[in-house]
Symmetry: D3
Subunit: 252 residues, 6 copies
Amino acid sequence: MAHIRLINPNTTASMTASIYRAANDYAATGTQVSACQPEAGPVSIESHFDEAISAVGVAQEVIKGEQEGNIDAYVVACFGDPGLLAARELTRAPVVGIAEAAFHMATLISTRFSIVTTLGRTGIIAEHLLEQYGFRQHCRRIRAAEIPVLDLEHHPEAAYRRIVQECCRARDEDGIGAIVLGCGGMANLTQEISREVGLPIVEGVSAGLKLAESLIGLGLFTSKHGDLAYPRPKPFTGQFADFSNLTLPPGG
Amino acid sequence: MAHIRLINPNTTASMTASIYRAANDYAATGTQVSACQPEAGPVSIESHFDEAISAVGVAQEVIKGEQEGNIDAYVVACFGDPGLLAARELTRAPVVGIAEAAFHMATLISTRFSIVTTLGRTGIIAEHLLEQYGFRQHCRRIRAAEIPVLDLEHHPEAAYRRIVQECCRARDEDGIGAIVLGCGGMANLTQEISREVGLPIVEGVSAGLKLAESLIGLGLFTSKHGDLAYPRPKPFTGQFADFSNLTLPPGG
Amino acid sequence: MAHIRLINPNTTASMTASIYRAANDYAATGTQVSACQPEAGPVSIESHFDEAISAVGVAQEVIKGEQEGNIDAYVVACFGDPGLLAARELTRAPVVGIAEAAFHMATLISTRFSIVTTLGRTGIIAEHLLEQYGFRQHCRRIRAAEIPVLDLEHHPEAAYRRIVQECCRARDEDGIGAIVLGCGGMANLTQEISREVGLPIVEGVSAGLKLAESLIGLGLFTSKHGDLAYPRPKPFTGQFADFSNLTLPPGG
Amino acid sequence: MAHIRLINPNTTASMTASIYRAANDYAATGTQVSACQPEAGPVSIESHFDEAISAVGVAQEVIKGEQEGNIDAYVVACFGDPGLLAARELTRAPVVGIAEAAFHMATLISTRFSIVTTLGRTGIIAEHLLEQYGFRQHCRRIRAAEIPVLDLEHHPEAAYRRIVQECCRARDEDGIGAIVLGCGGMANLTQEISREVGLPIVEGVSAGLKLAESLIGLGLFTSKHGDLAYPRPKPFTGQFADFSNLTLPPGG
Amino acid sequence: MAHIRLINPNTTASMTASIYRAANDYAATGTQVSACQPEAGPVSIESHFDEAISAVGVAQEVIKGEQEGNIDAYVVACFGDPGLLAARELTRAPVVGIAEAAFHMATLISTRFSIVTTLGRTGIIAEHLLEQYGFRQHCRRIRAAEIPVLDLEHHPEAAYRRIVQECCRARDEDGIGAIVLGCGGMANLTQEISREVGLPIVEGVSAGLKLAESLIGLGLFTSKHGDLAYPRPKPFTGQFADFSNLTLPPGG
Amino acid sequence: MAHIRLINPNTTASMTASIYRAANDYAATGTQVSACQPEAGPVSIESHFDEAISAVGVAQEVIKGEQEGNIDAYVVACFGDPGLLAARELTRAPVVGIAEAAFHMATLISTRFSIVTTLGRTGIIAEHLLEQYGFRQHCRRIRAAEIPVLDLEHHPEAAYRRIVQECCRARDEDGIGAIVLGCGGMANLTQEISREVGLPIVEGVSAGLKLAESLIGLGLFTSKHGDLAYPRPKPFTGQFADFSNLTLPPGG
């Protein structure tokens, strides 16, 4: 039995639930999925600032998971992969970001893809990730539906129509074979969009879950040799004092 | 029940068997693994020429698989990923190469990796793949144990020692967190090497199997929109006449 | 007297003849041109699959040429450069692909160029070659006339008009100085297109011939030091058994 | 009178003082320098995790600065540039990171440089920044003195000798013209190292101060058009509730 | 007192005066600005040829400056940065090009920028510089107002309108945060354009001045270790005989 | 009859003669070779400064050639390709640089090459050219024999030994298939070095001649559409007044 913990980096519980369902539908026999969200942080992530704050919550949730002691892998379920490398330092368990997961999967079924995301201003976050992960040349275009993240919850119909509209444009204009959905909040829409657009639609939450299962199945763990080794224990001050002299559990 | 077909692109049956075992050990509940090799081609793949010939066999095995009609994904089990894009054109099922699979997995558990392969002359094949897939900056160095591929079968002890030796050098000198094994024939050595070297060792056959399972689980298929669409049917002549006017099965 | 062998990787004899004429018109005094096509393979090359099969024929034609013993250089006359590195392994004689030849020449007379090819789906092949050869930044755009390759033979008037139309768009919209024709079948149209479009038009068959002449003239041969050394002799099975234990002629 | 606020992202006050002195020595007539550190966070930054936590402090210090209302530019004084893009979103004032500042300056006085940093494990942070900022080809090598950051305070002599030793190796082996010091804690050593090594030594705190002065002098502000616009106001929960519905001052 | 010498690489004195004013407005207390132009060369720089000739004048002006002996830094005030590396070889003083200066500054206040230049044909010069300096990915688009350089002097109103027009298009279509003005002759228009367009406008002459001030303030000099060392003295013939056996002043 | 003009960018007549012989040995039947050197400039080119001055001479020699009216192509015979793009603007005839020529040829016969040049300080010039031309990934290493250019004339034996020594190191350590000689003055040594080192040695003067012949044979000319169009005529002052209002001959 493998236990995969989804970390929703924002603090909107309903989005956590929706991400959980989206992932759980894809869980293999023998995979237990659980989901959590930080105790503190932004209700949605739509800027570098939101992302920076949310990274603390991601780290805290990994530390909690390590204390629970029975988590086999983590998925960071926000398309900017906030705190991903920090999270990897905190555990031997594999940690997968949903942006990277979606990019990896998209390159396995197409030669070029486009991204359809929520707000145009977050496009730069995706660009930086594409560069860091090596997929810049595989992504033809980043398109924004220009809807705030929480509209996916509050105005689902209108949001859905805008996303499908941009996906159809990507299909017709970008010379691509697949589309990556650029927001964890779109996870539950994948199949419906795919049917309507007629292209493979890659969504990161489910992709991240399957990559996490894969890494567990392969017996691979986050390398503790070199730059992802556990952080050197040290004092932290103020509201972050709990991070002081972190002793990560042996199983971690 | 998902059926994944491993295609060993060379014609050495014992290597097919070894690859089968290496993959089957990692198969999830509900995954049926089968393995095959081309009817015609080189007994090992150690050059661009060997690779070019083996690509025909890979294509033939995909066509056969499509005619069988019950294959859900293919894994091309040679580290040069021969015929990968051709194979993808021939089927809607996902097709995963073991080099790409290993690269993807290695980037999820480390920030930089090295490759340990058989012969130095095949390093250029890996370099070209790293460039095409986007992982050039993630790979610090390609190292060769300078052993012919079939020595992995004929002189397993000596071959094993040489590979471990290069892996240790990579660990100590390259500033990496993981090592990718650069030959399908090394698949059964992964765990032993990992124990001895003390780093995560990523091997492509098992990695390819898990990625194939993931794509099946996600309901993703090779995009038939754009440049991976089925090949236009047309006449082929001579020994390749069987490829003429290929009508791929509806399920394909 | 230098003997250059053109290898048309597809099996359409009329296209071989047309390529021969296109090249022969440009041959220097002292250059003998001959042309051949594989005994087996696709009648045209419009996909990764077609290309993979054609690479075998290319290799076979090089082996034949080496057995003839009087070939000084080879030109692989299909825009995807199928089997190019395999061919280079099989001979000390220089081997030039027409895509690479055209790219090289275009960069000598302009700072940026566009490609006009037949079908959009082959654009990815050109993109991968541009990346591998280093010319990605020199190519502004890959344009497709969306005509099947054999239409160049069957509907030459209509095909010609479509190609000119795309060339004019490239000239007016792409900010380029030259155009590369992306199909060996366009070889005989070069001068006419150039006159009509008013830009230098670079065509690969003639460019490949001149580069082959240049390499012969320079006394340069394909390096046998390192990764283009002759393939290690080994058994091949089935319909490829003739490749077994290849002993390439001393002059090869 | 221009007011530049140095933000030391770690919470070690003595390091803040040292950074302040290092910068103040270089301040132009008419520049007022002040320095601060977060109320909460790690005492030194030596990992992705430390960096992620420190980014919150950086953001908080910018928000405080904006509330003070008289800050003309900020310098983020840790070599990983933690929270840089988040900080830029929070203010119209220019914000400069010391890694980027050092890289920019180094390219103006040399064609290639090396970095000498504290711990090897932080090299990957510098590598990612070089890639994001565009300086990967300008940096020949990242070298680590393998000293913890606080040893710069606790064992200054030994630390200094190790740094000079690596700088000399860089000078002699790397084919470079300048060296970038990869830690804010080295700021006060710059001139001494430069004298001993005989190469231009670029240090980020002073470089960042001068770039901040330059941007102020030019009347340039952080663009609020597009992806660095103020974050959309929204609720934050828990210990981050203070960030809720942030209304940044008009002057901000 | 720091003395910064602006070198206008073209020979139009009125443009030198205009560049001088543009820079002097931004000079810090304690900075003395002087400006010069070559005795010989083109009246404006609009081609590789113009640029090649102007590089001689730039070198001559640096040599003159070194003989004067009191110059602390140089700014090469033409957007192609002609002769920049040659100039750096001739002096220990920092030398800053206005294209590089503008690029550096633009990346500090935005994540992506566009360039608005005079003639389309000079775009390739900017492209080559972006590649060499590392900023290719930061520049979304190079736009030309298609006005000859001297029209900035002869038809200022019309030229200004065309530039503003292109800047507005860049703002609305390119997904950028800042605009770089691609011609030294536009220096005096910066503030007016910025007001009208509503984006940060980065102009190289003022940016170069501030970077020069910064380097002086930091005590940084052009590295004489390695490839920017003083040129080896040697004979020059003909009209360039004056460059023979150049002995650069000790202070140089 | 095709007339190719070699331009030796330095003013050492004996080197012009040596370059002439090196090229003439490779001239095809029907090719007339002539060689010239600027009337003014450095006696050798070993720095950015030397190169900048020599670019004027290159331009002047092209203008002279155009006035002669019977030149079909030019070769710029210094490894830094000084003034290459300026030269291309001045004529419709093809202009080939010897660095680019050598790089192009080397990639046709090997997958990776190294450069052996004279002085280490000129390595950066080669690096910048590799980047601009697209061959950065094809060049494994730039090695310097650390001999001044004119030592090739004055101490030929010692220079030859040093070059062979570096070539052997490149062969044994760099993982390459070919070596590019990085100085026009080495042109006459090519065959001897190749025999001694046992690798294909690519030399730019002969390579440039053959590429020039190829372009002539193909009827290709330097594009006058876009950024290599003739320079706009304009006044030049001082010693460069002769360049004023350049009217290039109709044949040009």
